[in-house]
């Protein structure tokens, strides 16, 4: 187990290196950098621009630049955001936290609603509730998330009880601690529910499929033949085995959530990593793009490793390292 985690860790470090170099190369392959707009600014002298370019090694060969960036990252120096005019870490910290709140809430909603719905549908297979749920699923993952977000915002604007975007009310700073939390939760409702909807739909489908697969197994027949009650058969025997494949999904789910969160953050003006990356890409803010891509990558790796570990805990049959099949 430990060996597996270490192996996994090493390969992901390599992966992150490749991804970051790739992003770096892409950013540099494009004509122009952030200083182009600075150079056009009559209030800033050409010498200042030249000094900045020298300071950030912008005229060195690509590999040298990447080396500088990498060494700085290892020293905990994430670079400077030219667009926001502060060190990258200042911007990233709060954005990361906000994205985490949004993704985490959606993850809880998705699993909390999707799995029970999937079980329910599998137990009432081909009855009207199952049909209804499958129509709902198809509709839900065919709706563009940003479009759904706009529709919900539109409905909310008519209804008037929920805030339309943003993360805090204007008077947030004056509120007491409890009210601050309440305020944030109110703002969270629309983006989190829109983000979860498509994942709920797909998780529901997968859970239903798994459950149906397990319910056909002979040990379920055996359990029923033993005279166990239906509740015990379903919730103790079937559910545990139907659940295992989903744990592997958790890692990918996280990737999908991050990616989906980006668009919804933009539409609902939620100050997260995705909307930050969009701004950074538009402004050609190299270090900000690099850092947010890297952070997203790190988040994913953590998600994947966690789901691996979780899987060994949930499914005792899986032992990494020992007589593992190819």
């Amino acid at each position: 187990m430990m060996k597996h985690v270490i192996q996994r860790f090493c390969s992901t470090i390599l992966l992150l290196l490749i991804v970051s170099f790739f992003t770096f190369w892409l950013m540099h392959a494009t004509p122009g950098n952030f200083f182009d707009s600075m150079r056009l600014n009559p209030q800033i002298s050409q010498e200042t621009v030249a000094r900045y370019e020298k300071l950030y090694h912008l005229n060195d060969p690509l590999l040298v630049q990447y080396g500088h960036w990498l060494i700085n990252i290892l020293h905990g120096e994430w670079g400077y955001s030219f667009y926001y005019n502060v060190p990258v870490t200042h911007v990233l910290g709060s954005r990361l936290f906000n994205t985490f709140i949004l993704s985490f809430t959606s993850l809880i909603l998705t699993w909390g609603i999707g799995i029970p719905l999937g079980i329910w549908a599998s137990l009432r297979r081909n009855q009207w509730i199952d049909r209804l749920l499958s129509v709902f699923s198809f509709a839900a993952f065919s709706t563009p998330s940003f479009f759904l977000a706009v529709l919900v915002l539109y409905a909310a604007s008519r209804w008037g009880a929920l805030p339309l975007g943003g993360m805090h009310s204007p008077n947030y700073d004056d509120l007491s601690f409890i009210d601050k939390i309440k305020d944030t939760i109110l703002h969270l409702i629309i983006p989190a529910s829109v983000l979860s909807l498509a994942s709920i739909a797909s998780l529901q489908r997968i859970m239903r499929g798994n459950m149906l697969g397990v319910l056909r197994q002979q040990y379920i027949l055996a359990a029923r033949a033993k005279g166990l009650s239906e509740t015990v058969v379903i919730y103790r025997h079937a559910l545990r085995n139907a659940f295992n494949p989903l744990v592997t999904l958790l890692g990918y789910e996280f990737a999908a959530l991050l990616s989906g969160a980006a668009l919804i953050e933009i539409v609902c003006s939620w100050p997260g990593l995705g909307s930050l990356l969009l701004t950074a890409v538009r402004a050609k803010d190299v270090y900000l793009v690099m850092s947010s891509t890297l952070l997203a990558g790190v988040l994913l790796v953590i998600g994947n490793v966690l789901s691996d570990i979780l899987l060994t805990l949930v499914d005792p049959r899986i032992r990494y390292g020992k007589n593992q099949l190819k």
């Binding site: 992966l15 940003f146 706009v150 529709l151 668009l263 539409v267 538009r282």
Partner: protein, 350 residues
Amino acid sequence: MEKINSNSRSQMAIASFRRNHVGMICLWILVILYGMAIFADFICPYSYKDEDRNFSYCPPTAIELFDHGQLVSPFVYGRTLTFDNVHRRVYVIDQTQKYPLNIFKNGRLFGVNAPGRFYLWGADARGRDIFSRIWYGARISLSIGLLGVGISFILGLLIGGIAGYYGGWVDSVLMRLCEMFMMIPGFYLMLALRAAVPENFNSVQVYLSVVVILALIGWASLARIIRGMTLSLRERDYVLAAKTLGVSDFVIIIKHILPQTISFSLATLMLTVSSYILAEAGLSVVGLGIQDPIPSWGNLLSDAMGIVPVIFAPWILIPGLFIFIAVMCFNIVGDSLRDAFDPMFKEGEN
């Protein structure tokens, strides 16, 4: 051994697909959507860049059939622009101006004579007809998915085939590469790739670069599936036979292994097209995809990203409905195809 030809199997699959009513209906809807896109020049009353700023956010025009209680040939009323007490634009129906609806005039299916404007589904901020722009946009949105999938498919088949066939270090290098692409969240990868596309590209170049970006995102998962299938296929006797006959590896992969995986990939392909349509819309909606004035279903919605225009002109949301319909149809057709090609999959449920 009895001669088994894959043809009869796919014929069976097609027959089974045709029995699936929902799948067939969706297939026909897709055919209609593509048809409308191809004949957009004829169907739409205006060109995609035909604008009239006097009709910014003009609401949908109703077709009138009765004039003073009498049935007449269809016509539309003109509109005059006024401002209400908070200086919002209000279009008042002007019953003195009447514009008869022309059918088959100037090579267009329908339209009205200038200065009248006929907005079946309303107008956008620059007074362009949303109905027309939707069908011109369909050309972009519906073709981008197909083209992107075409490229992903070729990449995925080749790389998956090579990885599965050779195994060993080739396999592990290629699969690590796939993992890399799968690991980065799609939207972030899209943004990063888009950052690399020069801003002075013209519309054709932007279109092609969006296709390439989409293709680069999607090939990895397909390659993994193909690799898995190739791993088992390469152990088959007929591959050994081909090898003994001295057929080159490349030909074995292309001619003997990959065709076996086609039926399964076809269903996956349909599902991928729908995800590409969504991805293009996402990229365009934030202004990084297809650029105005060329319409795509994504950038038609970019106006609608602000809540204020939506409240005053809800009809600018109509393009979203088409994204929904197209994506839903591709999903359902893909799902039905998979059921048809892979009866075991469905039996697993029943």
